[in-house]
C-alpha cells in the first residue's frame, strides 16, 4: 500500500512540477476532467494523437524550410495546426514558441523561422518526454492498484 501512496505522491508532484515549469497549463486539467469511466483512456488517446500529429508537422516544417523558395503560407498553416493541437492538450511552451514562429513567418524571416523550428523541436521533445513519464507513472499507479487522483483542483 505504501508503494501505491508513494507512487501517487510521485505522480502528483511530477504533475505539479510540469505545471510549475510551464510545460502544461489548465487546458490539460480540463482534458483530464473529460476523462471518465465511459472514456478511461481519453487523455492518453488525445496526447498520442498530438504526438503523431506534431511529429508529422515537424517533419513537414523541416522539409519546407529546406526548400529553395520557401512557401511561408504552407509553413504558417503547419504552425497553426501545431499551435492548435498543442493548445488543445495544454502544451503551453510549444504553443508559445508556435506563436513566435508564426510572427517570423509573417515577417518572412527565414532565420527566425529556422531558429523557432529548433525551439519547437526542443520543446516538443521535452514535453513528449515529460508526458510519457507522466503516463508511465500513471500506469504504475494503476498497476499498483491505486487510483489516479484526478482531477486536481
Amino acid at each position: 500500500m505504501d508503494s501505491v501512496v508513494l507512487l501517487q505522491r510521485q505522480l502528483v508532484d511530477y504533475t505539479a512540477q510540469l505545471f510549475n515549469e510551464g510545460f502544461l497549463d489548465d487546458q490539460f486539467n480540463q482534458l483530464q476532467q473529460l476523462q471518465d469511466e465511459s472514456n478511461p483512456d481519453f487523455v492518453v488517446e488525445v496526447v498520442t494523437l498530438f504526438f503523431e500529429d506534431s511529429e508529422r508537422l515537424l517533419n513537414e516544417l523541416a522539409k519546407a524550410l529546406e526548400q529553395q523558395s520557401i512557401d511561408y503560407r504552407k509553413i504558417d498553416a503547419h504552425v497553426h495546426q501545431l499551435k492548435g493541437s498543442s493548445s488543445s492538450i495544454g502544451a503551453q511552451r510549444v504553443q508559445k514558441v508556435c506563436i513566435a514562429f508564426r510572427n517570423y513567418c509573417e515577417e518572412r524571416n527565414i532565420e527566425g523561422c529556422q531558429k523557432c523550428l529548433q525551439q519547437v523541436k526542443n520543446e516538443y521533445s521535452l514535453v513528449k518526454t515529460k508526458l510519457e513519464t507522466l503516463f508511465k507513472l500513471e500506469q504504475q499507479v494503476l498497476a499498483a492498484g491505486g487510483s489516479i487522483p484526478w482531477p486536481m483542483q
Binding site: V46, F50, D53, H80
Partner: protein, 953 residues
C-alpha cells in the same frame, strides 16, 4: 455553383422558348401559309363568278332565242299556209269560172253570157276570190278573125297602152271583165309582156299560171296575174301541148293585188304588228322578185324564217320570209338572274376573303400572344430566380449584420447606443423575416420546398406559438378592458383525439400557425383569438350535426344574437363562423372527454396511419371586407392598401401558408364577416408514429411536461363554458382531473358546506381555479363566506389552493384578490401547459425536483440538459482539436459526429440533416468563401444553431 445552375437554367429556358417558337411555326395553318395568295384568289374568284354569270345569261338568252325562232317559224308558216289556202281557193274559183265561161259561152249557142252577166256574176261571187282584185275573160282572136271580131264587138283591139293594136298573129282582147277591172276591156292581153307569156304557158299546160310580180294597171300595186286557159272543145284524155293550143278559146285572167290582199289577210291574224312579212317570187333564183313587203329591209335582221309558198303554178316558185318587227328585247329575267348570281358570287367571295383575312389576323395575333406569353413566363421565371438570388444575397450579409449587432449589444453600451443598436437589430430581424418569407414563396413556387417528416408534439408547438403572441394580445386586452367586460384573450384547444405525437414538419406547421395567429392578433382589438385542433373526421361530423340542427330546430343563434348580444364563444363576442359557438363546440368536446378510453386503443390501432387534422384560428377582429375575400391568398395582396399602413405586413404570409398547407395535403379556407371576425381553418395530413419512436421523442423532448400533477383534482369556476373547456384542456394535459362549474356559488355547493359529508359523494378539489370575470361579478362576498365555511369545517390543512385566472390584472385588483383569498397565485393568460405547471409547482410547493445529472457540478447541469440527446457536428481539420471538442461535448451527453474538412461537413449537412448544432473551425485552410456560405445557408435554413469557433486563438 449556383451561378452555373442559373446559367444552365437559363439555357434550358432559352431552349424551351426556341422549341415553342418552332412549334408556333409548325402551327401555321394553310391559310396563314398562303396569305400572299389571298387577293389573287379573290380576283380569280371574281373573274370566275363573272364568267359563270355570263354563261348563265347566255344559256337563258339562247333559250329565249330558240323560243322566239319557234314562234316566228310557226307564225310564218301559219301565214304562208293561209295565204296559200286563200290563193288556191281563188285559183279553184277562177278554174270554176273558166269552166263556166266555156260552158255558157262556147257550148251554148247563142252564148248565154254577155258582159253584164259576167260582171254581175263575178261581182256577186267576189267573196269567193278574196285575193283577186278582179277577173276578166280575154278571147283568143287570130289575126284573120280580127276584123270580124272588131266588127262584132264594135271596138278595136287595143294594146296595154290603149292604142289600137298593131297587127299580130293572134290577140287576146278582154271581152268580159269584172267591174273592178273594167278598164281593161278591149285591151289585148297579148300585148303585155307578162300576160303574153302567161297566156302562152297557160294554154300549153292547161293549168293556172302566174306572172312574175309587176305593177298592175290601174292600181299600180304590185301584183301577179293568174291566167287560166278556156278550151272551146273537150280535150282528149291526155292532150299534147299542140292539141291544147288548138283547142284554146280564150283566157280567163285575174289580178292578184297581192300587196293589199296580203295586207288584209295578215290584218286578220294575231301578232300582225310584231312581224314583218315579205313574199318573193323566186322563180329566177337568186334574183328575188318582191311581191309583198318593203324592198329595203328593216327590223330584226338576225332572225329570219322562210316558208315555201305553193300557189299551184309549178313554174313559179314563191317564198314567204318573216322577220320580227323589232329586235329581240333584252331578257330581263336572264339579265337579273345573271346579275344576282354575280352579286351573290361576289359577296360569297368577299365573305370568304374577309374570313380568311380575319383568320390570318387572328392567327397573327395568336402567335404574337403566344410569343408574349412565352416571354412573360420567362420573365416570371427570371423574376423568381432573381428574387430568390437577391433574397439570398441579402440574407447572407444580413446575418452578419445581425450577428454583429448581437455582439455589439453584449458590449458595454450607453443606454442611447443600446437603444440604437436594439432598434437596428429589430429592423434587421424584420427584414430577415420578410426575406425569408419571399424566399419561401419562391421556393414553394419552384417546387423546391420539401417538408420534413419528424415526430413532434403538436400541443407544445401550439403553446410555443401562443407564448410568442401572449404579450401582444395581453397588451391589446388592456386597451379595451375599461370599455369591455371581456378582455382580449388568446387560447388554444387541442382535441384529445389528436395524437400527442404526429409526424410532419414542425417548423412549417409552426409557421402556418404563427402566420394565422399573427394575422389574428394584428387585426383583433377586442374579443378573443382561439386556436382549435381537431381530427378532420370529427370536425366534419360536427358540421353535419350543425346542419341537422339548422334544418330541424331553426337557428337559436339568431335568437341569441338579437336577445342578449352575448355569444357562447371564448370571449362572448360574436365569431364569424358560428360553427364554433358553444352548442357545436360542446358536442365534440364532450365527445372528447367521453371517449378518453377509446383514444389509446385507437392510436394503437392506427399507429402507422395518417391522421387528418383540422386547425381553426378564430378571431373577433375587423374581418375581411367582402370584396377582398377573393384575393386573400394571393401573394403581396392585402385587403386594401391602407392595411399595410395600419397594420404593417407584406401580405405574403397567407399565400405561403396556403402553399404549405397544400404541401401538407390539406386545404385552407376561411369564413369572415366584416366587423365580426374571421375564422381561418385548414386541414393537414400528418403521420402518426409508433410507440418506440414516441418514447425516443419523450426522451429527446427536454421540455416534457412534469408528471407530478397526475391524479390531482381541480375545480374550474368559469361562467364561460368555452373558456372553461380550454382551461380544463390545459389541466388535463398535466394529468389533473378538472370539473367545471359556472359560478362561485355552485363551486361552494359542489364542495359542500359540510366537509365530512362531501367527501363521500363529491370531489374534494386540490385546486380551485377561478376566472377573474366570475370572481369580479360581485361574488367576493360569497367567496369569503365559502372560505370561512371551509375553514370552519376543519379542512384547513388541506384547503384547496385558490388560483385566479386572468388575462390582465391591475395592482389594485391583485391586492383585492389577495384579500379575497386568492393569496396563492394568479395565472396570467393565455394559458400554456408549461406555464400552468410552473405556477402549480410554485403553489403546491413541489419545487424543482427534477433529477440532475449524477455527480455533475451544478454549473454543468444546465449544459447537460441543453446538450443531452442533441446531435452535434464538429468540424475541424486538426485531429487533436476535434477529439478534444468531441470529448467535451460527449461529456455532456451530446451525440457527436466529426468531420475533418468543410467539404465533408457540407456533405453531412445536406438537407435534411439530423444535426441540432454544428461547431466549426472557420480557420481551416480549405474554409473558403464558398464552403462558408453554403454551410451558412444550410444551417440557416434548417433552424439549427451554428457556432463559429475560433479554437483557442
Amino acid at each position: 455553383m449556383t451561378l452555373k445552375m442559373q446559367q444552365s437554367y437559363h439555357r434550358s429556358v432559352a431552349v424551351k422558348v426556341n422549341e415553342q417558337q418552332m412549334g408556333t411555326k409548325r402551327g401555321y395553318t394553310f391559310i396563314q401559309a398562303n396569305r400572299t395568295w389571298l387577293p389573287k384568289v379573290l380576283l380569280l374568284w371574281v373573274i370566275a363568278m363573272a364568267l359563270f354569270s355570263l354563261t348563265i345569261y347566255n344559256g337563258m338568252d339562247a333559250d329565249n332565242r330558240v323560243r322566239r325562232k319557234e314562234v316566228l317559224g310557226s307564225m310564218c308558216d301559219q301565214r304562208a299556209r293561209m295565204l296559200q289556202d286563200q290563193f288556191s281557193v281563188s285559183v279553184n274559183h277562177v278554174h270554176a269560172l273558166a269552166i263556166l265561161v266555156s260552158t255558157f259561152h262556147y257550148y251554148k249557142n247563142p252564148s248565154a253570157i254577155d258582159q253584164e252577166t259576167f260582171a254581175e256574176y263575178t261581182a256577186r261571187t267576189a267573196f269567193e276570190r278574196p285575193l283577186l282584185s278582179g277577173v276578166a275573160y280575154a278571147r283568143r282572136v287570130i289575126d284573120s278573125e280580127r276584123q270580124e271580131f272588131e266588127r262584132q264587138h264594135g271596138w278595136t283591139i287595143k294594146t296595154m297602152e290603149r292604142e289600137p293594136s298593131p297587127i299580130r298573129d293572134e290577140y287576146a282582147p278582154v271581152i268580159f271583165s269584172q267591174e273592178t277591172v273594167s278598164y281593161i276591156e278591149s285591151l289585148d292581153m297579148m300585148s303585155g309582156e307578162e300576160d303574153r307569156e302567161n297566156i302562152l304557158r297557160a294554154r300549153a299546160t292547161g293549168k293556172a299560171v302566174l306572172t312574175r310580180p309587176f305593177r298592175l294597171l290601174g292600181s299600180h300595186h304590185l301584183g301577179v296575174v293568174l291566167t287560166f286557159p278556156v278550151y272551146k272543145s273537150k280535150l282528149p284524155p291526155s292532150p299534147t301541148a299542140a292539141q291544147r293550143i288548138e283547142a284554146t278559146a280564150g283566157y280567163l285572167g285575174g289580178a292578184f293585188d297581192i300587196e293589199s290582199l296580203v295586207e288584209n289577210l295578215l290584218g286578220q291574224l294575231a301578232g300582225n304588228q310584231a312581224i314583218l312579212v315579205n313574199v318573193y317570187d323566186i322563180t329566177n333564183s337568186p334574183d328575188l322578185l318582191i311581191m309583198y313587203g318593203h324592198q329595203n329591209l328593216d327590223g330584226d335582221l338576225s332572225l329570219l324564217h322562210e316558208s315555201k309558198l305553193d300557189f299551184g303554178d309549178p313554174f313559179r316558185k314563191h317564198l314567204m320570209t318573216c322577220r320580227y318587227h323589232e329586235k329581240a328585247p333584252a331578257s330581263w329575267t336572264a339579265l337579273t338572274t345573271a346579275f344576282l348570281f354575280f352579286v351573290i358570287g361576289l359577296l360569297v367571295g368577299y365573305i370568304l376573303y374577309g374570313a380568311a383575312i380575319h383568320i390570318v389576323k387572328v392567327e397573327d395575333d395568336f402567335h404574337e400572344m403566344q410569343e408574349l406569353k412565352v416571354r412573360a413566363e420567362a420573365a416570371d421565371i427570371t423574376k423568381s430566380q432573381f428574387l430568390a438570388t437577391v433574397s439570398h444575397e441579402i440574407r447572407t450579409p444580413m446575418n452578419g449584420i445581425l450577428g454583429m449587432l448581437a455582439l455589439l449589444l453584449d458590449t458595454d453600451l450607453s443606454s442611447t447606443q443600446r437603444d440604437y443598436a436594439q432598434t437596428a437589430q429589430v429592423c434587421g430581424k424584420a427584414l430577415i423575416a420578410l426575406i425569408n418569407e419571399v424566399l419561401d414563396r419562391e421556393k414553394i413556387e419552384a417546387g423546391k420546398l420539401e417538408l420534413e417528416a419528424v415526430p413532434f408534439d403538436i400541443r407544445s408547438i401550439l403553446d410555443d406559438v401562443l407564448s410568442l403572441f401572449s404579450e401582444k394580445s395581453r397588451n391589446k386586452g388592456i386597451e379595451v378592458s375599461t370599455r369591455e367586460p371581456q378582455e382580449g384573450q388568446l387560447a388554444v384547444f387541442v382535441s384529445d383525439k389528436v395524437p400527442e405525437i404526429v409526424v410532419g414538419d414542425p417548423g412549417r406547421f409552426r409557421q402556418i400557425i404563427t402566420n394565422l395567429v399573427g394575422n389574428s392578433v394584428k387585426f383583433t382589438e377586442r374579443g378573443h383569438i382561439f386556436v382549435k385542433v381537431h381530427l378532420y373526421e370529427n370536425a366534419k361530423a360536427m358540421t353535419d350535426t350543425k346542419l341537422d340542427t339548422c334544418l330541424n330546430g331553426g337557428s337559436n343563434e339568431s335568437a341569441l344574437s338579437s336577445g342578449s348580444k352575448k355569444f357562447k364563444t371564448l370571449s362572448g363576442c360574436e365569431a364569424a363562423d358560428d360553427q364554433n359557438s358553444w352548442d357545436k363546440f360542446k358536442h365534440f368536446s364532450d365527445e372528447d372527454f367521453r371517449s378518453d378510453a377509446s383514444i389509446n386503443v385507437m392510436t394503437n390501432n392506427e399507429a402507422s396511419e395518417d391522421v387528418g387534422l383540422m386547425v381553426c384560428v378564430e378571431d373577433t377582429g375587423i374581418g375581411i371586407p367582402l370584396k377582398a375575400q377573393g384575393r386573400v391568398f394571393m401573394p403581396f395582396v392585402q385587403a386594401d392598401s391602407s392595411t399595410s399602413r395600419h397594420y404593417g405586413g407584406t401580405g405574403i404570409g397567407l399565400s405561403i401558408s396556403k402553399c404549405l398547407v397544400e404541401l401538407m395535403g390539406g386545404q385552407i379556407d376561411f369564413i369572415s364577416r366584416p366587423e365580426v371576425g374571421s375564422t381561418f381553418s385548414f386541414t393537414a395530413v400528418f403521420g402518426t408514429c409508433k410507440k418506440n419512436v414516441f418514447n425516443n421523442m419523450e426522451k429527446r423532448n427536454a421540455e416534457a411536461l412534469p408528471s407530478g400533477f397526475r391524479g390531482l383534482k381541480a375545480l374550474v369556476v368559469d361562467g364561460n363554458l368555452v373558456r372553461a373547456t380550454v382551461t380544463r384542456y390545459h389541466l388535463k394535459r398535466l394529468g389533473i382531473l378538472a370539473e367545471v362549474v359556472s359560478s362561485l356559488k355552485l363551486a361552494a355547493s359542489s364542495c359542500g358546506k359540510n366537509g365530512s359529508l362531501t367527501s363521500g359523494g363529491k370531489i374534494q378539489p386540490d385546486i380551485i381555479l377561478v376566472e377573474k370575470d366570475s370572481w369580479i361579478s360581485g361574488e367576493d362576498g360569497v367567496s369569503s363566506v365559502w372560505q370561512l365555511d371551509l375553514k370552519q369545517n376543519g379542512h384547513a390543512f388541506q384547503l384547496p389552493k385558490m388560483i385566479l385566472l386572468a388575462t390582465k390584472i391591475t395592482n389594485s385588483e391583485f391586492d383585492k384578490a389577495k384579500g379575497a383569498g386568492f393569496s396563492d397565485t394568479v395565472i396570467m393568460k393565455p394559458l400554456r401547459a408549461s406555464m400552468v405547471a410552473a405556477c402549480l409547482q410554485q403553489v403546491l410547493g413541489m419545487g424543482k425536483k427534477r433529477s440532475q445529472g449524477k455527480g455533475m457540478p451544478n454549473g454543468s447541469s444546465f449544459l447537460q440538459s441543453l446538450l443531452c440527446g442533441k446531435r452535434i457536428l464538429v468540424v475541424d481539420d486538426n485531429r487533436v482539436n476535434r477529439r478534444v471538442a468531441a470529448g467535451a461535448l460527449k461529456k455532456f451527453g451530446a451525440d457527436v459526429e466529426c468531420a475533418e474538412s468543410g467539404k465533408k461537413a457540407l456533405e453531412l449537412l445536406q438537407l435534411p440533416h439530423i444535426y441540432d448544432a454544428c461547431f466549426m473551425d472557420i480557420q481551416m485552410p480549405e474554409m473558403d468563401g464558398y464552403v462558408f456560405q453554403s454551410c451558412f445557408m444550410i444551417l440557416d435554413c434548417s433552424c439549427s444553431v451554428i457556432y463559429w469557433l475560433y479554437f483557442l486563438e
